[in-house]
Amino acid sequence: MVKKKSIYPYLLVAPAVLIILCVVFIPVVNAIRMSFQNYDLRKPKDIAFIGLANYAALFKDPLFWKSLIKTIQWVVFGVGFQFLFGFILALLLNRSFRGRGVVRAVSLIPWVTPGVLIGLMWRWMYDGNYGVVNDILQKLHITGDNIAFLANPRTAFPAVIVTIVWQGIPFFALMILAALQGIPYELYEAADIDGASPVQKLFRITIPSIRNTIMITLLLRIIWVANSVDVIFNMTEGGPAYATQTLSVYVFNKANILNLGYSSAMAIMLAILLCSVAVPYLIFTFRGEDD
């Protein structure tokens, strides 16, 4: 490790840092400023500094709290099931069977599919009149009548969660599969000699060995899913009756009607929420390093 003082590392990170500064941090500073202003493009003459009024209004806004709870559910169930099924898929793909290469390649396709298309194709499948999901559920005798999944406040949220789970499985499977291949085979041989059961091997060898990958993948995915707008927006636009409106969709909807001050305040609350997840993780990660 090079520890002596050198200008090289700064030159190397300079391009990346410059891009980030210009395209992320300047806009973010702008957004923070806007969050303290009565910034509504529908009333451009009234734009003025109003202190914490946006934030005060936010805490009194029942829709904000509802969206916050939706966001937590969205992340917990969305990422949770992505992880669970992604893990299972990775374990299966790590076994040897004929045609594994092809199966591995095709099972990753949702990952390369645009969010817009995902939202729209699931919307078509969930359709209340001509949707294939209704037909399948009826053929399996799970439901009786046609359900307009995305129009019913009770079914809309589970429906969009199924969609985001579907989207996220491949990414987890890919990352975990990669990590699994790095586990030395001798560990399993030793466990076999000691008479370990498959479950013991899973929890004592597999999971501890790939802990770092699990952590970084979970964190990245939590951030992406919490911020994702395109899937929900193209399916329900946050409706019906705000049943699928997560915070980021709420911000998007508010920004769409040009109330930028309020939506900035909300976006900053979301960023703070995500920081509260990421910062402990970062501390945890850096503690493991030797410097």
């Binding site: 099972s107 890919l174 970084i216």
Partner: protein, 277 residues
């Protein structure tokens, strides 16, 4: 005994695999089937294989007002440029993070991660005016800049992981043999990093190809990309599902082909990154 082991294999491997694959692949089957059904069959009793096959939707796709070919070209340009810019910047940064311990390193790494935490919509409006002032609005460069910001963090972290797994002794040996740091990087690290660079590049390309929220703001009719074109197929009166699904199939074919060629190296590359686990 043998039959029992086959049964066990069936229950623990083939059955869950088939179930997961059906869940993952059925939607693609369904949009393909939808795209080749005649309109009368779309809005009626559900058929799992079209009674009549028609390519009408694909023909319509390239003759409607939405210029799909030019959208594909725009997407290709934006995604390729983003890949070059983002991969270069992230390789350099990852090398610094992996091989040097310098003041501000942790803060910078945290900064890279945190920049993905801001909701895209928060950046949209300020960015729009910045792009306009730089006079790059409606050019591919507006998208390249925007896309670089959200592909950089993941690329930097990924490549940092890959590089951490390349033993320092390799470079040290090269340094002893008279290489300087730059030649050691170009001759030792880069070739070993090949698969990881391909993997990261494919990731960047796909992410850029698929992006919608920035694209809808930073492009006009002439420069719009595929996801925007796709969304614009939804008319005022409703959705022409045949047309839309045909557009969807056309959209994912190029990335799928690219991905199929790169996926083996992608998994290999990720393996290298995960070994330290």
């Amino acid at each position: 005994m043998k039959r029992e082991s086959f049964l066990k294999q069936f229950v623990t491997l083939y059955l869950p695999l088939v179930l997961l694959l059906v869940f993952i692949l059925f939607p693609f089957y369904w949009i393909f089937i939808t795209s080749i059904k005649p309109e009368t069959e779309l809005y009626g009793a559900i058929t799992y294989w079209p009674r009549a096959i028609t390519w009408e939707s694909y023909k319509n796709l390239f003759t409607t007002t939405v210029n799909f070919i030019s959208a594909m070209k725009n997407s290709l340009i934006a995604a390729s440029l983003t890949t070059v810019v983002s991969l270069t910047a992230s390789t350099l940064a990852a090398y610094a993070f992996s091989r040097y311990r310098f003041k501000g390193r942790r803060i910078l790494m945290a900064m890279f991660l945190s920049n993905n935490m801001f909701p895209t919509v928060l950046l949209l409006i300020p960015l729009y005016s910045i792009m306009r002032n730089l006079k790059i609005l409606y050019t591919p460069w507006a998208l390249v800049l925007a896309y670089t910001t959200f592909t950089l963090p993941f690329s930097v972290w990924l490549l940092n992981g890959f590089m951490n797994d390349l033993p320092m002794t390799l470079e040290e040996a090269a340094l002893v043999d008279g290489c300087n740091r730059r030649t050691a990087f170009l001759k030792i690290i880069m070739p070993l990093l090949g698969p990881s660079l391909v993997a990261t590049g494919v990731y960047i390309f796909m992410t850029s190809w698929n992006e919608y929220t920035f694209a809808v703001m930073f492009t006009n009719n002439a420069s719009r990309t595929i996801p925007v074109a796709l969304k614009s197929l939804i008319g005022q009166l409703g959705v022409d599902w045949g047309l839309l699904t045909a557009g969807g199939i056309i959209t994912i074919i190029p990335v799928c082909i690219m991905f199929f060629f790169a996926q083996k190296r992608l998994v290999e590359g990720l393996t290298a990154g995960a070994v330290k686990g």
